[in-house]
Symmetry: C2
Subunit: 237 residues, 2 copies
């Protein structure tokens, strides 16, 4: 593992294009100079001159940072450091990737871990308004149990849980993972013929939130997700 990483690094340095190097330099530059959001970067031509590369190369590097939301450019004003937004970058990385089976599985598990781990923060932050919100979702759910709706309610309920942690990054992260979850579950359905659901329903979970402790909720969630956990254990073989 270590060796593999090393060789990758060496290769990277060897084959690094000017744009790669400039990108690195710019990142260092931004860190070093302790730029604040809104601060203006040097102009492209200045950078090109200072780095001794063509403006073209500088633009490629800037284009990358711009895509990640690290900087913003305007016609005359120049280029400025943007508000940092990790998840914005992550969304862009994740979205269209044709993920391989292994990674899909890994991400699926990651989401299971999140669901199991969120209990403590959830209970620390929960408000009455949140509970009302959950009530509404669960109420709607009992009326429509047809397949196309089921998935929607599933998402609504669990998304609400993340939202209730009051942690935006967390919420956005789960939103990114959502497609993965949907895909794997859909695939699971195709394989086994039917959607598997644990014995503990969303309503049960809600009751646990209202009356129980984090540990109880977690136990419920584990049962709720048990079909998926079964899948996890299977992979052991």
């Amino acid at each position: 593992m270590r060796n593999e990483n090393l060789s990758k690094d060496i290769q990277r340095i060897e084959t690094a294009t000017m744009a790669d190097k400039v990108e690195l330099r710019l990142r260092e530059f931004l860190k070093k100079k302790a730029f604040k959001p809104g601060d203006a970067l040097p102009k492209e031509l200045e950078l090109a001159e200072a780095l001794n590369v063509s403006r073209n190369v500088v633009r490629e590097a800037l284009s990358r940072l711009r895509m990640l939301g690290m900087i913003e450019s305007k016609k005359k004003r120049g280029t400025i450091l943007a508000e940092p937004d990790v998840m914005g970058g992550f969304e862009r990385v994740m979205d269209p990737l044709i993920l391989d089976q292994k990674t899909l599985q890994d991400l699926f598990e990651l989401r299971l871990v999140l669901e199991m781990g969120l209990a403590d923060i959830l209970f620390a932050r929960i408000t009455n308004k949140d509970i009302e919100g959950l009530e509404r979702i669960v109420d709607k759910e009992v009326n429509k149990i047809q397949q196309p709706f089921r998935v929607k309610f599933e998402i609504d309920f669990h998304s609400k849980l993340y939202q209730m942690t009051g942690n935006d990054t967390f919420l956005r992260f789960q939103n990114i993972l959502l497609p993965v979850f949907e895909y794997v579950v859909k695939e699971e359905q195709l394989l086994t013929g039917k959607a598997k659901v644990g014995k503990v329903t969303h309503r049960d979970l809600l009751e646990l939130i209202k009356k129980g402790k984090p540990e109880d909720f977690r136990r419920g969630m584990k049962e709720h997700l048990s079909p998926h956990f079964a899948r996890v254990n299977k992979r052991l073989m």
Copy 2:
């Protein structure tokens, strides 16, 4: 929130540069055509012609995808679709970002959630060899309790836990989060004068892994992390 997003989107479409559009097109193209890793993309000039833009613009877009590790280019061979590697992309996004305080806090919490949630997968996959590995780490730890070593062992122990899940993506994800954790803990130390540690030690956790159940381990972990959870609750105010 919704309105803010909307206005952001509208603005984005309006101000979208050619490179932005081409990037999008390429991503769609890669998805649509169901390219497999190793498949060759059209040449830059062909793309430029097909998209009716200059080669410059195409290169900016390709440069972005290349940075994320979605594609690889070689001198004569052309450009090929790379093995997808989400975390590789994420690392690049995350690494040098000057994160704001709020995001740091959010990510810190995300890691707490992971630690609390990993018990089930951990117990499902654990091997005797893993336990031996943990033993070694804990043994070394008891001898050297000086400050500079403490952090190292802290990292070693917890990293080992992630590694034991057998989920590479998970492990790499925690590695990315590591700097955040270190930073926040260090800051915490400066503030309170001394590193706070929960009553449950790494050795205790190891015993729980050997003899206990996931629930017990989780309870232990919560106690082990209790100083950090205290911080989480504080933020409620």
